[in-house]
Structures are given as C-alpha cells and as structure tokens.
C-alpha cells in the first residue's frame, strides 16, 4: 500500500487507535477533544514511551516536528496527520524542514512520509483570513518555483502547469480545492526544487523569531517575497514568461493574481533582515537552484524594489 494511506474523518473516528496521543493546533483543540479519546499533549512535553500512534492536527510546522520526532526518537511510531491548514503539503511530503540552532535544514526521505493522511476539510474553514492568504502564497511559491526550477523536467513542468491552472481559478482564501492543490504543488517541488523565495524564507524565519518579530512563519515569508522575486527573475531571464506561457497561462494575469500577497510596509520592515542575512541566503540550497542566477549584487535589486 502506498504511503500515506488516505482516510476520511469518519474512518479516523471509527478506527481503533490503540496507544495513541494527539498533538493539536490550538484553534481546533476543542473540536478534537470532543471527537477523539486519546489525550492531547503539547509537543513541548516529553513524548510518552507507551505511545504507538501520534495523531497530528495542524499545519506544516507541527507535522514536520512530528516527522522529526519519529525519525530521531521513535522509529516505528505510526504517524497520522490531519491538516488544518493548507499550503505546505507536508501531509503528503517526504520533505521535512527542520529548525535547528543554525537555521533551517532540509531532509528528503521516504521515511518522512506520514502513515495516514486524513481528509477533514471542515477543519480548515475557521482559519483566519490572513493565515489563509499566506497558505495560498505558500502553495503558489511551491508550484511556480517548481515550474521554473533548472532541475525540472518536461514531466515536472507539465505537472506544475496543471496545478497552476487549477490554482488560478481559486481565491487567495479558503476553498476546499486548496488541500489537494497544495499537496500537488508540494509534490511538484519535491520532484524538482524550489528557488529564491524559499531561500529567503528559510534564512529569515529563525532570525526574525529571535529578534522578537512574531508571526513571520514560512508561509507569510513566501507570500511576501513571491512578487519581488518574480520581478527579479523576469528582468534577468525570459524563462519566467516562457514557462508560464507554456502552461497556457498569461504571465501578466499570474502576476496580478499574486500582487495582493505583497505588502510594501512589511517588505520595508524586513529589508534590514534581508540585508543582514544576504550572505546566508546566497548559500542556501534553494537559492542555488533559482531560475535566475542570484549574485551578491542582486541585493541592490531588492533594496530598490517597489511594487
């Protein structure tokens, strides 16, 4: 059987879960508590040795933390994930982005795949409007950077094009199709690579958190930098336009679609962090597979960028 197995809500509620524990994001905790028997633990608590199954209700960060726990400390643990936010595609991904003292590292391994992915879209309905927009930006970044990746193949570009066409018809807000689209976008990037948007997000998230700037997670950073990075790539190479056109989409229409994800005030606020961490961004593996070459002098483009 291919992993992850897909269950619906009814199957999760009917299945004997054995010695299970639950990690849950706060916004659905009451609902989870009412629906499931296993205890809800904080991910910061010591993981109980008796637990044979971990059920995770959350987004990419919490799911990646669970994958890391299983990989490092509890091999054999059955991992059931229930996405409450779309965008990362972590529920079906063999990629784990790990936070460490030196920032983010990436692990790509089939062993990272959850055992079960539960489709329970109603849990996403209560996501706040701004988080929903960032989640959409995350999925857009995966699909677009995959389409443009120099490591892409004809097949991966065709798949990225198919998901981009679907995403064009979706709002930058919750829609039931986002769960599948973001999963497909994540698979596209796993098949090729991502680029500078992810290089920036991976290198800024930890410093921003350390400096006390709350709420600057991966999806928000990807959303913010999609438009400026797109502008940089478009001025450096005709590939952006050529590859978007090859998917039967109009480059200007795609640009317009992404524009609401950009916020000039946020961009200006983060510019000193971009400048301070530019050397690390240049060395980030994602940056190094960007569609356009990112040079030390590219920072000047971002200093001057205005929408």
């Amino acid at each position: 059987m291919s992993r992850p197995e897909v269950w619906d809500r009814e199957r999760l509620l009917a299945e004997p879960l054995g010695d299970a524990v639950v990690w849950s994001t706060r916004c659905v905790q009451a609902l989870v508590e009412a629906a499931l028997d296993p205890p809800i633990l904080s991910p910061d608590q010591p993981f109980p040795p008796y637990a044979a199954t971990l059920i995770v209700f959350g987004g990419g960060t919490l799911m990646d933390r669970a994958k890391q726990l299983r990989r490092d400390r509890s091999p054999g643990l059955r991992l059931i994930v229930v996405p409450t936010l779309w965008g990362s595609g972590a529920e079906g991904s063999r990629i784990v982005v790990l936070s460490g003292p030196d920032g983010k590292t990436i692990s790509v391994d089939d062993e990272n795949l959850p055992d079960v992915r539960v489709h329970w879209p109603e849990l996403c309905e209560s996501v706040p409007e701004n988080l929903a927009r960032f989640a959409c930006g995350d999925a857009w970044a995966h699909a677009l950077e995959s389409l443009l990746s120099p490591l892409g193949t004809a097949t991966s570009r065709e798949e990225a094009g198919a998901v981009l066409r679907r995403m064009m018809s979706l709002p930058l807000a919750w829609h039931a199709d986002w769960l599948e689209c973001s999963l497909l976008a994540c698979k596209c990037q796993a098949a090729s690579s991502v680029g500078l948007v992810h290089g920036i997000a991976h290198r800024l998230e930890t410093p921003l958190l350390r400096s006390g700037k709350e709420g600057w997670g991966h999806a928000r950073l990807c959303s913010l930098y999609l438009t400026p990075v797109q502008a940089f790539v478009r001025q450096s190479t005709p590939k952006w336009d050529e590859r978007v056109r090859a998917t039967a989409l109009d480059p200007e229409t795609v640009s317009s679609k992404l524009r609401p994800l950009f916020n000039q005030e946020d961009y200006s606020l983060l510019l000193p962090f971009l400048e301070a961490h530019w050397k690390e961004i240049l060395r980030d593996p994602c940056t190094r597979t960007n569609a356009a070459l990112v040079r030390p002098s590219t920072l000047d483009f971002f200093r001057e960028f205005r929408q």
């Binding site: 120099p150 490591l151 450096s236 190479t237 050397k279 240049l282 060395r283 593996p285 190094r288 597979t289 960007n290 569609a291 356009a292 070459l293 040079r295 030390p296 002098s297």
Partner: protein, 81 residues
C-alpha cells in the same frame, strides 16, 4: 567587458570566492562551493551571461574554469581578446 572578465565575474559570484582567487587553472576541487548545486548555478549563469545553455551532462563534466572556456570556445564564444 571582455568575455574573460564576464567569466571571472560569473565564477566569483556563483562560487562566492574572492576575485583574487580566480585563475584559469582553478579546479572544482579547489572550491568548496563547486558542489552539485554549484553545477546547477554555473549552468544557469553560463546561459544568462553567454547565451549558451549547457546540457546537464556538459555542466556535470565541467571540472574547472578551463573546461568552461573550452566548452564556450567550442560554441563560438572567444576568450582570446
């Protein structure tokens, strides 16, 4: 800017080395950032700078700066200015 100057600027920027480290006999093993991702970046950079897109096999076969010169010369891009 001559093609050699363009190549020097590219090598310095892709592999993040000091300009003084650039030389025509610089080899892949001399540069710690000339790894598999460096191969991808140099392919992208060659295309942007010289308008020639190396195939993945060509990019992987580049073992040093001289190999890049040889490849580009074979595509009609001159370095003897």
């Amino acid at each position: 800017m001559t093609n050699l100057e363009k190549l020097k600027s590219l090598i310095v920027d892709v592999f993040l080395i000091d300009p003084s480290e650039f030389r025509l006999d610089l080899r892949r093993e001399d540069v710690d950032t000339w790894d598999s991702l460096g191969v991808v970046s140099i392919g992208v950079g060659i295309e942007e700078t010289f308008g020639y897109h190396p195939t993945p096999d060509e990019a992987r076969a580049l073992r040093g700066v001289q190999d890049i010169v040889t490849l580009l010369t074979s595509k009609g891009i001159a370095f003897h200015e």
